[in-house]
Symmetry: C2
Subunit: 368 residues, 2 copies
């Protein structure tokens, strides 16, 4: 934040009048260039800066895509369990929703019986909420399906900036050769939630239509913020921030996994995670995730029941665990609290929270 403030102060002091008048719908050109460069290197996205639109976040990116592509009654495939904010938005446009199940390779390609799909919404880099990274084979299969069925793919890459293990796999967008993938991500998760700057990468032939729709709805992102972010990236602060936070978060995830394994055996089976800011823990069959989350909240431990992300009954219930905003001592205390809660729930005994903790709420896992 102090670096952000310094960059901002310098940028605002010297802001040329031109910057105050700049109103291009896709945003501030130098930032679009910086984003294109970054996505090329970090995510294997293939694009020119002209294809990059600066938006408030993934939510607006999906909203713009929905405005252009969806007619009421159109079929859209979404991951199940998946990101509810996307499903709700798509439903608001009158889409008929079909779930895609998620296995260890990511979202499962829809069967041939699922016809007339206009759009598929996926989170391949780090499936929301399960945390799976989509395999390269699955990515190619999904692209092949899109080619055969003439569907568009919306690739939501909301938090894969932080990778702890495994080799980075190129974005679907970078593997696609037909201009059928729309790619979106956000800076609000890697920098700070209240920022509201993200990006949308669109196939070249859609640039004009998306610009027209952006101009009719929110016109363009605020320019001074964009200029500050651009300086922050060009001067290397952004990459330094990512490297530093990656170390911090890598430590946190390993504390959660190691201490979880030590204390939560038989109670919560925490999945290892290759990237992102959250993972999941699977519950024993007898424990309701909604109940577990409610009891954990009594200890000010904020976990999210996976069942709220699903339109069907889950085979196994679980909890989404955000680890990024909680330091190691707090994470250990959280694990201990979960142990207490889950032990009581499995034995069907009551829990005495004792003195409530000071608020140690973990960050909401999704607000992109």
């Amino acid at each position: 934040m102090s670096m952000w403030a310094r960059v901002a102060a310098r940028r605002l002091r010297g802001a040329p009048t031109k910057l105050l008048w700049e109103t291009s719908p896709f945003g501030y050109q130098p930032l679009r260039e910086a984003v294109a460069d970054h996505l090329q290197l970090a995510r294997g996205v293939r694009c020119s800066w002209e294809q990059v639109a600066i938006v408030t976040g993934v939510q607006e990116a999906l909203d713009l895509a929905a405005r252009i592509f969806l007619q009421p009654g159109d079929r859209v495939c979404v991951e199940d369990p998946g990101y509810v904010g996307a499903t709700r938005l798509l439903e608001a446009y009158g889409a008929r929703i079909t779930g895609m199940s998620v296995d260890s390779e990511g979202a499962v390609v829809p069967r041939g019986s699922v016809r007339d799909v206009r759009l598929a919404y996926v989170t391949p880099a780090h499936q929301f909420p399960l945390g799976v990274t989509m395999s390269i084979a699955r990515r190619l299969a999904l692209l092949d399906w899109a080619r055969r069925t003439d569907a568009l793919i919306f690739e939501d890459d909301y938090d894969s900036e932080y990778r702890y293990s495994g080799r980075p796999i190129p974005a679907l967008q970078g593997l696609d050769t037909r201009g059928s993938v729309i790619f979106a991500g956000t800076f609000s998760k890697v920098l700070f939630p209240s920022l509201r700057l993200g990006y949308l990468v669109v196939p070249s032939d859609l640039v004009e239509r998306i610009a027209a729709v952006k101009s009719l709805s929110t016109r363009h992102a605020p320019v001074l913020e964009q200029a500050i972010l651009c300086d922050f990236m060009v001067e290397g602060h952004f990459m330094r921030h990512l490297r530093r936070m990656r170390e911090v978060y890598a430590e946190r995830v390993s504390v959660l996994l190691d201490y979880g394994r030590e204390r939560l055996g038989g109670l919560l089976d925490i999945s290892p995670v290759e990237a992102g800011l959250q993972t999941v823990g699977w519950l024993p069959g007898t424990v309701s995730d909604v109940r577990a989350a409610r009891e954990a909240a009594q200890f000010d431990v904020e976990v999210v029941p996976l069942s709220i992300y699903s339109r069907k009954r889950l085979e196994r219930e679980g909890l989404q665990l955000g680890f990024a905003a909680v330091d190691p001592p707090e994470l250990r205390r959280g694990v201990e609290d979960l142990e207490r809660v889950l032990t009581a729930l499995t034995r069907n005994t009551s829990i005495t929270p004792g003195a409530r903790r000071n608020s140690t709420k973990s960050r909401r896992p999704r607000d992109a």
Copy 2:
């Protein structure tokens, strides 16, 4: 700008973490309070801060209203001539558009034969593009019509912050007693176009629905910008800026009117203007406004033909003239160039622009 930079630097240096996490859909509470206070004093808007949503501008405000209230096929009344950005957006939601003509008292209340109107979009403070301020009698008649027909009114108050003459008339919103007016305005026109912060004042019973829709589309406005704007208002810089710019603009409009009367008699009849940043000049019947604007552009004089704002053939064509972004010497030169252009057009002779001027483009009249 230097004051904005100073306020921003201070605010960012001391930004508490809380500010980085703030993600309420309606925006930063202290700014909502400051806006509510300001609108009460400056525009006679009656609202509590809870009814104020911070948005990117009037365009997004109208977009949010359309999402909630419009179904494809719904009838919407708009002023004609009127703001094309509104009409296009409403048409994108499938609205059937009916024009309201505009006379010297503002938009004319729709006739009884115009039935089933869901929404009327109006600019009472300073009609766009004609510049008329709606009379109090017409305001009351419009509210009465809305009551009888159960229509909602969207009041776009995009630039009336600057008033040069006449008594301020309370906003429709402040005269309404039934919660049937949605009021919107923007800071981008009074501060700087690239800012993208505006406001929407909604009836209390709609707060939750609008918040839900805002959250699904762009989530919330960027918070640091909101905090900076809030400080700027609370510390009095905003009112000082308004007072100072009102003087600057008042001088400019009087230069335009006086010098225009002196040089453009019989060629362009420039309307006096009580408020805002632009006015209109009426052409002789023989001159096409599109042609006149095109010829004026050869001299780098940017004027907008009124006919582009209308869905029907205008009885008399004219030019929209933005005076706010052009200093007096430049305004005088612009009047002289218009004299040359219009003299040639009325006499049907050709024009020699001679050496082109340096770019002296006036600000686009509408980008709220």
